[in-house]
């Protein structure tokens, strides 16, 4: 095994065995899985029954409230005072009072409850009454509600992307934007996280003075590359572990409780005047739901439209490329200073392009084919983040190849410069280094 491989092995193992790595590797997927699972669990937990008594003095609406979403309605014939005392006895959670003048003056409506009122129930009641009032007003104005309903046409344009080879794909810009942002952000986080690990590693070797022992056995360049590659592999391992563990946890939950994840589209509750839609209408509505009207359906279809292998491979390539480019610079900074506090002055110019890329991601995902996006995805310092943001929208292979090539050239260049700084820096103690000094190291070594 070559010496660089020995170094890579140590750098990798010493980090992977750390408690913090194990904790992060387990916590990360748990956190990500939690983002998916917890809302589902919470939704189920909060679904306790809520009973509402209806005192309808107008006598018009009492029958218009179907039980729904664990909210149960009970029309009462008694007066409001009696209903409230029943509520105090614990028979109901809330009492809805519809006075005679409710239709003319909706603000006279009251919902009484002992505790703070259930927000969902309130929303439900408001929606039902709103529709009822509207439909009453329509009929009093002589407009046939059926006609009006037939006018209400949902419009949802299907965006179609036509590839060069004529293949047509439905386009989902919202999904692409989400994925683009997440991809760019992940690259940013990973470069920063593992780049600063390189910096700290180099600094540790320098301050502990082990570096002189090691460079009497290996070339400084081997030591630097060994560290950069070793830490990079740690990053890659962590990323892959996160992906697999997240899939495993979410998959496990889905297998254990599949009904939790079955998507049940909202039924159209606002059935006028308690009328049920005729079967044909109902069928038409259901079909439209299944096709593309619902968020979940769109999400699934949208995800399917993304070229996942290209996404994953690009992520790995642009993460590694960006990491190598910045990792070399981080290593150079670590070698040039004597302690962590001194790193600040050199960190800024390294951080700025990375931060700029992250900020520009917002702009890029709203105009992924514009000139700004195009240029930023070519410049090696910003391309890893920006390219990841653009890929979900579709980037031509020619552009991808050019960007990749430039990135490779970029990290070869930064590594070359960093090696010069590193070689001088690691053996230099007690000297306050500034940019002028660094430039001399690059020029003279």
């Amino acid at each position: 095994m070559s010496k660089t491989a020995t170094i890579i092995r140590r750098e990798f193992l010493s980090r992977v065995r750390k408690k913090s790595f194990v904790v992060m590797t387990i916590l990360g997927p748990l956190l990500m899985a939690a983002i998916v699972i917890v809302p589902v669990l919470v939704a189920q937990l909060t679904d306790s029954e809520y009973s509402v008594a209806i005192v309808d003095d107008s006598g018009l609406f009492a029958q218009d409230f179907p039980d729904r979403d664990n909210v149960y309605f009970t029309p009462l014939d008694t007066g409001i005072d009696n209903a409230i005392s029943l509520m105090h006895d614990g028979r109901f959670d809330a009492v809805l009072h519809i006075p005679e003048i409710a239709f003319q003056s909706p603000s006279s409506l009251r919902l009484f409850s002992e505790k703070s009122v259930n927000f969902n129930a309130k929303l439900l009641i408001e929606n039902i009454l709103k529709l009822e009032f509207e439909s009453m007003k329509l009929s009093s104005a002589g407009i046939d509600e059926e006609v009006l309903r037939s006018i209400d046409t949902p419009v949802n344009i299907q965006a179609i992307r036509i590839a060069d080879d004529g293949e047509q794909m439905t386009d989902y810009p919202e999904i692409s934007m989400g994925l683009g942002f997440v991809g760019g952000f992940m690259i940013y986080i990973f470069i920063f996280l593992f780049g600063s690990q390189v910096l700290r590693g180099v600094l540790e070797e320098k301050t502990s003075r082990i570096v002189e022992i090691i460079v009497s056995s290996v070339k400084p360049f081997q030591l630097m590359m060994g560290k950069i590659i070793g830490v990079g592999l740690v990053g890659l391992t962590q990323f892959l572990m996160w992906v697999f563990l997240t899939l495993a946890i979410v998959g496990g939950f889905q297998a254990a409780a599949p009904e939790m994840f079955r998507f049940t589209p909202d039924e159209q509750v606002f059935i006028s005047g308690g009328q049920v839609l005729n079967p044909e209408e109902l069928q038409a509505q259901k079909e439209s739901i299944q096709q593309h009207d619902t968020l979940a359906g769109e999400l699934l279809e949208g995800l399917a439209s993304i070229n996942i292998p290209v996404m994953v491979l690009s992520f790995i390539f642009f993460f590694l490329g960006g990491y190598l480019l910045y990792g070399a610079l981080f290593a150079a900074i670590g070698s040039a200073v004597d302690n962590e506090a001194d790193t600040q002055q050199f960190m800024l110019p390294v951080t700025i392009p990375l931060l700029l890329a992250l900020i520009m991601t917002q702009m890029v995902i709203s105009n992924p084919q514009g000139p700004v996006a195009m240029w930023l995805s070519m410049i090696p310092f910003t391309s890893p983040v920006i390219m990841m943001a653009r890929i979900p929208f579709g980037v031509s292979y020619a552009e991808l190849a050019l960007s990749a090539l430039l990135l490779i050239a970029g990290f070869v260049a930064t590594t070359w410069i960093a090696a010069k700084i590193y070689r001088t820096g690691i053996l230099m103690y007690g000297k306050k280094v500034d940019y002028k000094e660094l430039w001399k190291w690059i020029k003279h070594s």
Partner: protein, 323 residues
């Protein structure tokens, strides 16, 4: 005895100062070679060049009669002055790692390390993290790592710093044993006592140049001030009388019936002649040459004058001359 390492006209210039100027040293095989010099003289630069950590601007280095090449690092062991270890890494694992960088395989490294750890009472610390070890123990580990791969050339830069006297002794024994076993040792230090004790040859570097090089005994002989110290009892004839102007009396000191004389012997005379004269004065109890110590030679070479202690002798000589 052949030459293991020969550096010829090595020059190295950093941006604003010359660290080494036409430095040549010959390091005989199987010897201990003292590399001396004040701070900033260029010793560390020379050592780093030999270790191929940095390159020389000019000059050649022959290692075992071959031009120095990267593969030679496996045959060199280097203990730097400023040395450390990975604090969070386990001692044994770290030693194996550093040994592997020197070209040993895992199995051999473990076997050799176990032997050395046993000898240095470090075995119970094998699985501990370095930060749990005392400074002395860390130094021992570093020493072991340096010598583990049985290098032809060992370079120790201030090896005794941070050791207690017992461990200094242990280390000295090991260094002498390594020489017996065939290693050549470059020994860089400011501790002149250990130079006299251990070194066969020295080179003194000052202001980027070699100002003195050679066998320790010869160096000291060359720096002889031809000053001798004689102790006499029961003096019946005044010493001044027998010296008769042939020898110069540099000082006298009386102590409990014993008189100590410091006498300088001129170039044309010998100690034997002085002794014969002294026999006639009384009972001679002691006679020895006052050779300058390496410490004195070092200071003389660097500052141009002997240190205060020896200046007393020269002073007493001047006083004697005035009498």
């Amino acid at each position: 005895m052949g030459t293991l390492l020969e550096a010829g006209n090595i020059s190295k210039t950093y941006r604003n100062h010359r660290a080494l100027n036409q430095v040549s040293v010959h390091i005989p095989a199987q010897s201990i070679f003292g590399l001396l010099g004040p701070n900033g003289a260029g010793k560390t630069t020379l050592i780093r060049i030999i270790n191929q950590i940095i390159g020389a601007d000019e000059g050649t280095i022959l290692f075992d009669n071959e031009p120095l090449k990267p593969a030679h690092v496996f045959r060199i062991g280097y203990l730097p002055e400023e040395r450390g270890l990975y604090k969070k890494m386990e001692v044994g694992e770290q030693s194996i790692y550093l040994a592997r960088l020197k070209g040993l395989n895992r199995h051999d490294a473990r076997k050799l390390l176990t032997g050395w750890f046993e000898k240095f009472d470090l075995l119970p610390w094998w699985g501990k993290k370095v930060e749990e070890l005392s400074k002395g123990m860390q130094q021992k580990v570093q020493f072991i790592i340096t010598v583990l791969h049985k290098p032809r050339l060992l370079i120790f830069d201030e090896p005794f710093s941070g050791f207690d006297p017992i461990n200094v002794n242990l280390l000295k024994q090991e260094i002498l044993k390594l020489r017996e076993e065939g290693s050549t040792i470059i020994f860089s230090t400011h501790n002149m006592g250990s130079v006299e004790e251990l070194c066969d040859h020295i080179a003194l570097i000052n202001k980027a140049e070699v100002v003195l090089e050679g066998n320790v005994r010869e160096v000291r002989k060359n720096h002889s001030t031809r000053l001798y110290e004689a102790e006499l009892e029961d003096i019946h004839t005044p010493v001044e009388q027998v010296l008769d102007g042939r020898f110069q009396l540099a000082g006298t000191e009386k102590h409990h019936g014993t008189t100590t004389f410091r006498i300088r012997i001129p170039e044309q005379a010998t100690p034997n002649e002085l002794l014969q004269s002294l026999f006639t004065c009384g009972q001679l109890t002691s006679f020895k040459e006052l050779t300058p110590s390496m410490n004195d030679i070092f200071i003389k070479q660097v500052t141009g004058a002997y240190p205060v202690k020896n200046r007393q002798i020269t002073n007493s000589f001047t006083q004697a001359g005035q009498q």
